[in-house]
């Protein structure tokens, strides 16, 4: 019955989304995935071939059409073998979900809450690429009942994303730490204060006291505190690869604020006991280092207190993602609104969340997924733009002193 929806799904590609489009073989295979999707109180049942499931986007739009909710942003989740509710938000975990169907795949659709305006400014590309990252390294096994049992609120999977990483461990001295803070256009404050101070340096003339810049305070709930990688009294040595010696406090402040979209600070931690021990092996490292701010290299993230975590495969995947990411994922995303009233160009979707500011254009709500929105990011034109999920982080977790950074 609704099996007919499957070829439709493959034949009707939404733009340039799928890299599986060409595999439109319709061979008779016995393995068919049954799908039961639930949105609010409504159920839909359908099926498709297990070996050619297509991409996540097709699946997403298929569900939208089936549920007749074409303009609703939704979150997909599925129940796996163990009864856990796991997210579907990219090709990988979609395939995982398909493979885990036994034989029924239960999909739960929830409406996405109102997103901040920034979300609309994030391009589709960003979302797609970024999602690859979240899905793989999310051990987010959370089910509805486990949530209630633990009594701890754990954010929805799409809210997880990387907020910080330690980079360049292989090229930095062990006493130093290079930390990257990912702000991703969220409204979460970076949340730390810096001050002037004096630091001891060994010079050819002996130990000398030289002026330095230090972290003086971390804001509770701020990004810096939640990473656990920066601490009070850590000395700041570099900001995005630029040495801060000889610079005034105000200059360093301005440098950090100007780089706040992709802030990489090299610090000498006041607490030297939690340093990453550099073992000389480059198994987790990425030797290709380009750019002064050294954005590549091994990425040891997650947990500064338990060095064991960096031997997990999660780290490996993480380092790949880090390697892809360009150093220029910064403020280039200037928002440019074109309102070419002279050319009478009237795109059906020529608006966005900020369009109220232009009084002459009609206000039409639009799909953020639509590629044809005239709002585009200047950065989109640049290559090497790796992304992050276009979701805002609502909460990072702190559990028994361990910080989960995703």
């Amino acid at each position: 019955m609704i099996l007919a929806a499957v070829p439709q799904l493959i034949i009707q590609p939404e733009g340039r989304m799928s890299r599986h489009q060409q595999q439109t073989s319709f061979k008779a295979t016995d393995s068919v995935v049954e799908v039961k999707s639930k949105f609010d109180a409504e159920y839909r049942r359908f099926a498709f071939k297990r070996n050619c499931p297509g991409g996540f986007q097709e699946f997403y739009s298929l569900l939208q059409t089936l549920h007749h909710i074409p303009e609703v942003d939704m979150l997909l989740g599925y129940a796996d073998d163990h009864g856990d509710l796991l997210p579907i938000n990219n090709d990988d975990n979609f395939h995982k979900a398909v493979s885990s169907a036994n034989p029924l795949l239960r999909i739960i659709i929830t409406k996405k809450e109102d997103e901040p305006v920034v979300f609309a400014t994030n391009s589709l590309q960003r979302r797609k690429k970024g999602l690859g990252l979240t899905g793989l390294r999310t051990p987010a096994s959370l089910s509805t009942h486990s949530k209630s049992k633990m009594g701890l609120f754990i954010g929805r999977p799409q809210n997880f994303r990387q907020i910080s990483s330690i980079i360049d461990v292989d090229i930095l001295p062990e006493t130093h730490r290079r930390v990257r803070l990912h702000k991703h256009g969220t409204h979460k404050p970076l949340g730390f204060y810096i001050r002037d101070g004096a630091s001891m340096r060994v010079t050819p003339y002996g130990v000398e006291k030289v002026p330095g810049v230090f972290i003086s305070r971390l804001v509770r709930g701020g990004l810096a505190e939640s990473t656990g990688l920066l601490g009070v009294n850590d000395e700041i040595l570099e900001v995005n690869g630029i040495d801060v010696t000889g610079k005034s406090l105000d200059q360093v402040t301005d440098m950090m604020v100007a780089n706040s979209h992709n802030l990489i600070v090299t610090v000498k931690p006041a607490n030297q006991r939690n340093n990453v021990i550099h073992r000389g092996s480059k198994t987790t490292g990425n030797s290709g280092s380009f750019g002064s701010n050294g954005s590549t290299g091994s990425a040891l993230s997650h947990d500064s207190t338990s060095p064991a975590s960096h031997s997990t495969p999660i780290t490996a995947s993480n380092s790949i993602v880090e390697g892809d990411s360009d150093e220029e994922e910064d403020d280039d995303g200037d928002l440019i609104l074109e309102n070419d009233c002279l050319t009478l160009y009237q795109s059906p979707n020529n608006t966005n969340l900020t369009s109220e500011r232009l009084h002459s254009s009609p206000v039409v709500r639009t799909l953020p997924q639509s590629v044809s929105v005239p709002v585009y990011m200047a950065s989109k034109l640049r290559s090497g733009q790796n992304g992050y999920p276009g979701h805002s982080i609502q909460r990072s977790m702190r559990e028994g002193g361990n910080i989960l950074t995703l």
């Binding site: 002037d196 610079k247 200037d334 309102n339």
Partner: protein, 1002 residues
């Protein structure tokens, strides 16, 4: 390979950079901040001013300027030129003496410090013994008499600063030679005055603080006469005609003593000019003879303490005329210039240095009018609130402004400037430049900024358009204050603003049409036109609501200015014809005038608008306000309140501490200790909490994101790349650029068809830094010309074939976007790289110093670190960086204004502009020559005079052999002749003076 090639280009570029850019601080315009000493050389006809910051400035005829700075950061307390020489001596606050000279080098004179000296007393003597209180540069040009706090007079030979210990006049010698009854009762106190008898250089009058005046013969080394004045002495003066000595005293009296008769030590005449009631001291008195008989008497101070004690007055009495010149600020010093080629004739001008200005009174003309000063003009007569520079003014406009300005200068003296020393050798300025300064009292002053002298051309007042609190008849009342003392107000320094709302914030002048737009503190924008005739007409006012009826806004700031409805009379010059008033009346933060389209754009913290001054109608309004921005909505008053509050609190605290101090005095040490402990605890607390800076990305709801920082008109491609359209660009504090397409009717329908505007684009910079500059580059990468520039054949028309580019300068980055499709092309991140921010940016043209026809445009930038940068266009590459202003000097950085040719001005004090140049071709700096006066040669020829002193010295020091003396005289001749052709650039001043001293010590 590519790298190699680029390297070659780099070295070529480096050479070009050296030809294009060069940094010089050239000249200081305006009035020195906090002057503390005045000196004058009648032979050189140079004026010297010392300041509290240790600077010494010399001025001669217009364009002749020298400036020197003492290494010590101490105030200059006295300046004395050595008579008939090119040297001058300065005394600093730290008791050090400095010798300066004007040395000719490659045809130009320069001011050089050639020696320094501190008086050393005998071992174990208190420092007051050598604390110099009075300096006399003896007319021989070889001796310096130094009176000290201890009452001694030390004699020093100059220019080598060699102490002649044997000739010192000690206190003991004085007390021995004066009858006891003058001394016994009390000590003599310090030496207050040292004056040389103009008739006989051997006689020196020594005035002591307690009043005793002793006439000392330098040759005979004895006191000739003494005058026992009973009042505290303030100053002494020998009269030239007869042997009188005038002394002025702290009780407001002056006495005349007859010199010459051995026993005549009685006062001949004593008078308290403003007497009866207690008077303030007469700090300086001068009497000068005239050929016709009646002498001129000048004295400063002496006013009745109770009624006029706060006045700063100089009284001139001549014949029956008696005037008390009432100055605007404290009198530092004054001198009188005499007529004639040798400056020995009748008094011709009185030069008065007061704290905020220099006033010159013409004593030859009826009514003693003021002579307009060609330099040292008080820029800050009302505080400067903004400035604007226009280069290359067309001659026609220049003459019209000059004519209008001359009509304003009717009450000045017609006499030429009396200080005429030195020769101005600077070439004539290549173009006519105008600097416009806006002031707190609503005036705009136009200055001729073409050359070294910043000369006032025209003053425009906008206050007449509005009803203000002040009574226009205020000035008339001042004359009717009473007949005695006969006050006359002089000077133009007037820092008191009638209404702070009148303050000028933005100025834009179109040099081709003579159209001027001026915007002020209360959201008023005036459009003015130059009219050669006086006219009387009403000024049309137009109120525009920038909020466009948005609800929930409450303006708590000042109210709108009240425009006069009745016709207002305007003198010839710039006459306003339209006023736009923004509602809410917030400060106008951006202004742009396009005289070709006859449009003026204005912006405040709430939004921006476009006004058509041809049709006198508003074209459109755009509100840029962020609804969450409470501060912008309420206006400045809330902050003012808090200042008031904090002031009140601090006063309370002071009062409280005073009370508690008094208690402490009664109530002894225990509490004092407690207070000390508390203070220490407070200090420790302060140390615990160091200066912190929050690291926070800028978010969209910061304050004042809607504040419009820049407005720009451009004729460029916005919709497609084949049709260019007029457009208006606006940049905000929140990093947003709004672009509006303007549709202008054809020229024949310009007056009746309305102008329309449509929003075309909006660019929100992701880093949200305030936008400080917008420039559109044409197809060749050259900035679009100014309006009417092409029409006047003064610029090439822009290239409309190639694609245009937009250069957006935010505080943090320079970014190039393509047009019409706005996409980022290039950028230079400034803040992210070195933490500095852009404070000022302008487009400038740089000509090569090597080849005449090479010229390129670039952005000149001033950062918050006080550095000047040059950024190339269109490549946005950093070319050069020069440190210019101290980064702590916030007002200096804020006041910077650039010219179109790579020069600039910034305020180094409230009253002084420093001029700098980044260009190696365009440079305005003083080039002048001061020649050694003829009379100095005469003094060398009539050697006997100084020689007599030397012989006097020899008499006292017997061990010097005769042969040595003659040898020394030969050496000395050689030295003095050498003076004129000194190889100045080779010799370090210190070695030069050392060389000299060794010769003297032979």
């Amino acid at each position: 390979m590519k790298r190699f090639r680029r390297h070659g280009q780099d070295s070529q570029r480096d050479r070009l950079k050296q030809e294009l850019f060069q940094f010089n601080k050239t000249v200081e315009h305006g009035f020195p901040h906090q002057p503390s000493a005045l000196g004058y050389s009648p032979s050189l006809q140079l004026l010297a001013i010392g300041t509290r910051s240790g600077a010494i400035k010399l001025y001669g005829s217009p364009g002749v300027e020298f400036m020197g700075l003492h290494d010590e950061n101490a105030a200059v307390t006295q300046v004395h030129f050595l008579p008939h020489q090119v040297e001058l001596v300065t005394l600093l606050d730290d008791n050090s003496l400095h010798m300066w000279t004007l040395r000719a080098h490659t045809g130009l004179s320069e001011l050089l410090e050639i020696g320094r000296f501190t008086l050393t007393g005998p071992p174990g003597a208190p420092p007051s013994v050598t604390r110099v209180t009075a300096v006399l540069a003896h007319s021989s040009g070889e001796l310096l008499l130094l009176g000290t706090e201890g009452g001694h007079v030390f004699i020093v030979q100059v220019p080598g600063f060699r102490e002649l210990e044997e000739r010192n006049i000690s206190l003991a010698e004085i007390t021995n030679s004066v009858p006891d009854n003058c001394i016994v009762q009390r000590s003599l106190e310090h030496v207050e005055a040292l004056e040389e008898n103009p008739a006989d250089p051997n006689h020196v009058a020594i005035g002591y603080g307690r009043g005793l005046i002793v006439i000392w013969d330098l040759q005979k080394r004895c006191a000739i006469q003494h005058f026992p004045a009973t009042q505290q002495l303030e100053s002494l003066c020998w009269t030239e005609d007869r042997g009188y000595i005038l002394s002025s005293h702290s009780d407001g009296s002056y006495c005349r003593w007859l010199f010459g008769e051995e026993d005549g030590n009685e006062v001949e005449k004593s008078d308290i000019p403003y007497g009866h009631f207690p008077c303030k001291a007469i700090s300086k008195i001068i009497q000068l003879p005239t050929k016709k008989g009646a002498p001129f008497l000048f004295f400063s101070g002496g006013m009745p303490r109770a009624s006029f004690g706060d006045r700063h007055c100089i009284t001139i009495i001549h014949n029956k005329t008696h005037v008390a010149l009432d100055f605007t600020s404290r009198i530092i010093d004054f001198f009188v210039i005499k007529d004639g080629p040798l400056r020995t004739g009748d008094p011709s001008a009185l030069v008065v240095l007061v704290e905020e200005e220099l006033v010159v009174i013409d004593l030859k003309s009826e009514g003693w009018p003021v002579i307009q000063t060609p330099y040292l003009v008080p820029l800050h007569s009302s505080a400067i609130t903004c400035s604007h520079h226009v280069s290359a003014i067309p001659l026609k406009l220049w003459e019209r402004i000059l004519a209008a300005g001359n009509l304003q200068k009717t009450n000045y003296s017609k006499k030429p400037w009396p200080i005429t020393g030195g020769k101005n050798l600077a070439p004539d300025p290549p173009q006519r430049d105008l600097l416009l300064t806006g002031h707190e009292d609503g005036t705009v002053r136009l200055w001729n900024a073409s050359g070294v002298c910043l000369y006032p051309m025209y003053k425009l007042s906008t206050a007449g358009v509005f009803h203000t609190d002040t009574d226009p008849n205020d000035n008339l009342h001042q004359g009717a204050e009473g007949d005695w003392p006969p006050f006359r107000k002089v000077g133009c320094f007037d820092p008191y603003s009638d209404d702070p709302r009148l303050g000028i914030q933005k100025i834009h002048l179109c040099k081709y049409s003579g159209c001027l737009a001026v915007a002020g503190t209360a959201g008023q924008i005036l459009v003015l036109e130059l009219n050669d005739e006086a006219a009387e007409h009403p000024v049309e006012a137009k109120v525009v609501d920038l909020l466009q009826g948005q609800e929930g806004f409450r303006w708590k700031g000042h109210t709108r200015l009240d425009v006069r409805d009745e016709p207002v009379r305007f003198e010839a010059g710039f006459q306003p014809f339209t006023v736009v008033q923004c509602q809410p009346p917030a400060v106008v933060t951006a202004l742009c005038l396009h005289s070709e389209w006859k449009l003026v754009a204005y912006g405040t913290s709430h939004g921006f608008g476009l006004f058509d001054y041809q049709q006198k109608s508003n074209v459109f309004i755009k509100c840029t306000l962020n609804p969450s921005d409470q501060l912008a909505m309420e206006g400045p008053l809330s902050r003012v309140k808090s200042i008031k509050k904090s002031l009140r609190q601090s006063f309370r605290r002071i009062r409280h501490s005073r009370v508690s101090l008094r208690k402490h005095q009664v109530n002894n040490a225990a509490k004092l200790q407690e207070a000390n402990a508390r203070l220490e605890a407070e200090l420790a607390e302060m140390e615990l909490a160091p200066v912190q800076r929050k690291i926070e990305a800028r978010s969209s709801d910061d304050s004042f994101t809607g504040l419009v920082r820049i407005l720009y008109f451009a004729d460029t491609f916005l919709s497609d790349s084949s049709h260019n359209t007029p457009s208006l660009w606006a940049g905000t504090n929140g990093g947003c650029v709004y672009v509006f397409i303007l549709r202008l009717p054809s020229v024949e329908h310009r007056t009746d068809e309305p102008i329309t505007a449509h929003p075309a684009k909006e660019i929100q910079l992701m880093h949200r830094a305030p936008i400080v500059g917008l420039v559109v580059l044409d197809g060749h990468g050259i900035p679009l010309p100014e309006p009417l520039e092409v029409a006047h054949d003064l610029a090439r028309s822009p290239d409309m074939q190639g694609s245009h580019h937009l250069v957006v300068t935010s505080e943090e980055q320079f970014k190039v976007f393509t047009l019409p499709k706005v996409s980022a092309k290039m950028k230079l991140k400034l803040t992210a790289m070195d933490g500095s921010r852009v404070r000022r940016v302008a487009v400038a043209w740089f000509g090569s110093s090597q080849s005449e026809d090479y010229c390129e445009s670039a952005l000149v930038v001033l950062t918050n670190q006080g550095d000047l940068l040059v950024i190339s266009l269109p490549g946005v590459k950093l070319q050069v960086r020069f440190p210019c202003i101290r980064k702590e000097d916030v007002s200096g950085i804020a006041s910077c204004v650039f010219t179109k040719h790579g020069q600039g001005f910034y305020l180094i004090s409230p009253s002084e502009f420093e001029r700098f140049s980044l260009s190696s071709r365009f440079l305005v700096e003083p080039c002048c020559l001061v020649e050694v006066p003829l009379s100095s040669d005469a003094s060398i020829q009539c050697m006997p005079k100084p020689d007599r002193f030397l012989s006097a010295y020899r008499e006292t020091s017997q061990e010097v052999e005769d042969s040595d003396i003659s040898a020394r005289r030969v050496m000395e001749h050689a030295l003095l002749n050498d003076e004129n052709c000194w190889p100045s650039d080779q010799l370090v001043p210190a070695t030069a003076s050392a060389f000299r001293t060794t010769i003297f010590a032979l």
